[in-house]
């Protein structure tokens, strides 16, 4: 059976850049699965995409399925043959399968003997299979938002499909999708190429000849090399920005960067504003001078080979000038009314219908900052924190909320601590983002997030599934991160303000933070949280200590013993734990454990007090020989009730005393895990 290359190219109008990579992956997986299910083999040699095409080349696809055999089971042998002669049942089965009765044979199965037949299945041509499957696969490619274009009820895709290349070897795999017939003709770059017949072997080169750089990695390299060449010898550096780079790679089929300039006078505007205009509104890279300061240049990436006459550069410079003029206009206009004079107008900006205006929120935040012990500067920052929502700058550049407020506060002579706190108070905006850099900033950020959480939970706006319109998960995550990394010992119960659902929601975020952000093992997280989580910085320290002590030889066996102790106490329904009566102790293992425990107890208490959890855990772990010996030699369920009670008391004290750092019984030991 000959093996052939399979080439599929879906030609579309421009797909949104951020959807392309995952759509390509999804397309590739489905084609691979279809080939494998159809037993056609093949190895993907190329999976690439540009804004206008998703392309796959699969090598070694069988031109036809191998013939195969299928075993079809029939009636029980006892019913099919009587005295060696076929019955009606056997004949019916043979007829149904299109074979002679003589072709039947008997199969032994675990349920007894059955007649059966081996049917030969002729392999199907790969072209026929793919012609049927490809249209379905293409329409199944996942996109977050699709459209129809051929009319109501028509097929849906991310953008209209305009051509399809489907070739197996030299033959077109024929099908029609959304009125487009598959063929062997591809299209080049919109302005640098034409329409041309392709083959799997020369596909990439043919596209290149028509202005399309198919491989994303190559487009990326071109941008990087181009940028390096543009700034070489000029004492300039271009700030790396992976996300922007990725966007541009999938916004172009033939990227080429150009270096533009703007009037240095605009550098008097805040860098944050200039960078936002360049980055978010124009998709430009910003440029720094040798000292690392923003330079009056930018790098734009074109979707065309070159700009020999400087026309594109001139156009981009003109647009940027207009944008910067707008920003300057906003800046100057906004200064006419100070932040402090804008507080009252927050009454006109709704925070949430049932939770009132931003003025209401501001008042609650000011009170919260007080409760958090934030001080006068933090209180002032909270009062002014939302005022930038009424400025033209933030209306235009919403992503700069907070930042603009901070910049305006500084320009308007507010204390630096106030300005910085306003500037930072939306932080952290993600798990990767840093928390506010000052205590005042952390107080305002906490107050803002806590108010939102309490308010939304209070009116039943609780996130479910993927629905979280008020970004409460992010807010809660931010609270956790600030408490831990800012070393703020604020109990979560207080954060939740008595709302049980919110408390649990916050606990979920604590678990997520410990496991997914900090990388602690889930059982360590459970063990530490079970021992209490009044203070998150303390949780973090205990977690770190457990992680450090865990690999030591005594730790896991001791954890197993703790679990055993817990079970024993539970089975005995033992709760009250008074003092151990030394007189009732049996010499040997029991007395030794008691002595070791008493010594360790004092040491652990001291170490715990000094927050040296790691040493405290080591001391606890060092009790292992005595604990092991105790269980080896001593019968807890002693016949004498007094002795028994005393033994249970010893174990209970041991458990209580040493469970304040972590509940060891939550640790999954390796013997359990296996």
């Amino acid at each position: 059976m000959p093996a052939l290359p399979l080439l599929i190219e879906i030609g579309t109008e421009e797909i949104p850049d951020w959807m392309i990579r995952s759509a390509l992956g999804n397309f590739r997986e489905m084609v691979e699965r279809a080939l494998s299910d159809a037993r056609l083999g093949g190895t993907v040699r190329l999976a690439e995409a540009t804004p206008r095409r998703l392309a796959l080349i699969v090598d070694g696809v069988l031109s036809r399925q191998q013939d195969s055999e299928e075993l079809v089971m029939g009636p029980p042998a006892s019913a099919a043959f009587k005295d060696g002669k076929p019955t009606g049942a056997a004949m019916g089965f043979a007829k149904k399968n299109g074979v002679d009765v003589a072709a039947l044979h008997v199969e032994k199965t675990s349920k007894g003997e059955y007649v059966a037949v081996r049917k030969k299945l002729a392999g199907v041509e790969a072209g026929a299979i793919l012609a049927e499957q490809l249209p379905q696969i293409i329409l199944k490619i996942y996109f977050p938002k699709t459209m129809y274009w051929t009319g109501k009820g028509g097929p849906r895709f991310i953008r209209p499909i305009r051509w399809i290349v489907a070739l197996l070897g030299g033959d077109v795999i024929p099908f029609t999708l959304a009125g487009v017939e598959s063929g062997n003709v591809s299209q080049g770059h919109r302005r640098m190429g034409g329409n041309f017949a392709v083959s799997a072997d020369s596909y990439v080169a043919q596209l290149a000849a028509n202005g399309v750089i198919l491989q994303a990695a190559e487009r990326k390299q071109r941008i990087l090399d181009g940028i390096a060449a543009l700034v070489a010898g000029k004492g300039l550096t271009v700030k790396t920005d992976e996300a922007l780079l990725e966007t541009l790679v999938f916004l172009t089929e033939h990227p080429a960067p150009i270096l533009g300039s703007f009037d240095a006078g605009y550098l008097s505007l805040p860098e944050e504003v200039l960078v936002t205009v360049m980055r978010h509104h124009q998709k430009y890279f910003s440029v720094a001078d040798a000292a690392g300061k923003l330079a009056p240049h930018f790098v734009a990436v074109m979707n065309i080979a070159g700009d020999p006459d400087g026309i594109v550069r001139h156009g981009n410079e003109r647009v940027l000038r207009a944008r910067f003029n707008d920003a300057r206009f906003f800046w100057e206009f906004d200064q006419k009314k100070k932040l402090a004079e804008r507080v009252d107008s927050l009454a006109n900006v709704t925070f949430q219908a049932k939770l009132g205006s931003y003025l209401d929120k501001t008042k609650r935040m000011v009170a919260l900052v007080g409760e958090l012990g934030g001080g006068a500067d933090a209180g002032r920052a909270a009062l002014l924190s939302k005022c930038d929502l009424t400025t033209d700058m933030v209306k235009e550049f919403t992503e700069l909320q907070g930042v603009v407020g901070g910049l305006y506060a500084r320009a308007q002579g507010e204390p630096e601590a106030v300005a910085q706190a306003i500037y930072d108070h939306y932080k952290p905006v993600s798990m990767e983002d840093a928390i506010p850099s000052t205590a005042e900033g952390r107080a305002v950020a906490l107050a803002d997030k806590i108010d939102t959480l309490r308010g939304c939970f209070g009116i039943g706006l609780i996130p479910s599934g993927s629905k979280d319109p008020f970004a409460l998960r992010r807010a809660a995550q931010g609270v956790v991160k600030i408490l831990v990394e800012g070393k703020i010992a604020l109990p979560l119960a207080q954060v939740a303000g008595g709302d049980a659902a919110l408390h649990e929601f916050l606990m979920d975020r604590v678990r997520y933070y410990c496991k997914d952000v900090r990388g602690f093992a889930y059982d360590e997280v459970n063990a530490v949280l079970a021992a209490g989580c009044e203070s998150l910085p303390d949780v973090d320290e205990r977690m770190t200590a457990i992680q450090a002590v865990r690999p030591t030889a005594d730790f896991e066996p001791l954890a197993a013993s703790f679990k055993r102790i817990k079970n024993i106490l539970r089975q005995a329904n033992f709760e009250a734990a008074g003092e151990v009566d030394g007189a009732l102790l049996e010499p040997g293992a029991e007395a030794e454990l008691f002595t070791a425990f008493a010594a360790a107890k004092t040491k652990v208490a001291e170490l715990r007090e000094g927050k040296d959890y790691r040493s405290a855990l080591s001391v606890i772990a060092s009790l292992r020989p005595q604990v092991d010996q105790f269980f080896d030699k001593v019968l807890v369920n002693a016949p004498d009730a007094k002795v028994r009670h005393n033994r249970l008391t010893l174990l209970a004290n041991l458990l209580t005393e040493f469970s304040s750092i972590a509940d060891f019984s939550e640790i999954v030991t390796s013997s359990q895990a296996s």
Binding site: E13, E14, P16, D17, W18, P51, K145, M147, Y148, W149, T150, G151, K152, R159, P160, R162, G179, R190, R191, L251, T252, Q282, Y284, A300, M302, N303, I304, D307, D309, I311, V312, H314, G315, N316, R318, V319, L320, R321, A322, N325, D326, F329, N348, V349, T350, A353, S357
Partner: protein
Amino acid sequence: MDTFQETIFKLKRYWSDRGCIIQEPYDVEVGAGTMCPETFLRVLGPDAYRVAYIQPSRRPADGRYGENPNRLYKHQQLQVILKPSPSDIIDQYLGSLEAIGIDLSKHDLKFEEDNWESPTLGAWGIGWQVMMDGLEITQFTYFQQCGGIDLDLVPAEITYGIERLVAFLQDKSSVFEIDWTRETPYAKVRHAEELQHSVYNFEMADTEMLWQLFGLHEKECQRLVDSFAEYPDKARFPVLAAYDQVLKCSNVFNLLDARGAISVTERVGVIGRVRKLAVGVAGLWMAQNYPVVEEVA
């Protein structure tokens, strides 16, 4: 270098050559060319239609007293509707750029995702902002729904912001410096209008009167919508007049908004009121033009 009006002539000629009816601007205030009946109503239903027209579009909140070089209270849109959209629609669009003197081999062109939505009209579509040398020169949309109704044929809507486009072509740093004709700059034709309407919209508009107007137009529209069912001769029914009332409401809403008279909370509610009217009229238009024939058993 073409003047402002020559560029408009060329675009109209270009789309006329491609089968478009060339309409004149609608004579009721609108915020965008999409709102004109030639788009809002004509995209509904199963009949093909091609139309292009200039539409002066009023956006009171965007006014800047004629001081900002790039912002206008009223700008002109060239609106093109091709229903259904032909498969070479993008090539046709690119041809229109060449027709107004853009050498595409020398410019950077990108199609960036930009899905259009008008909550007021119960309408949305999928498309791009077309960027040339970093400037958005066109909004391109495949309509999916209008007046809350899924569209039978998917129209392509191409909207050129004429001032911005011509400032680019004439390489002017302010729209007010555009040559409207060789002798007359844009400022001379329009500056006073920008200044005076900004003063009115931001400082002098009587919000109480505007709220009353909103209520009156809303009531009149709703009265018409409600009386359709009982009206005997459907073909005579003034659906188009009812739609004018929707446009009046929308414009008054924009004026109130510019005046800062609508809080964010109220906003959603008022938009909902206008949408209800728009959806109602769209339904009437469908019922009038494509009555469901009752099958006789």
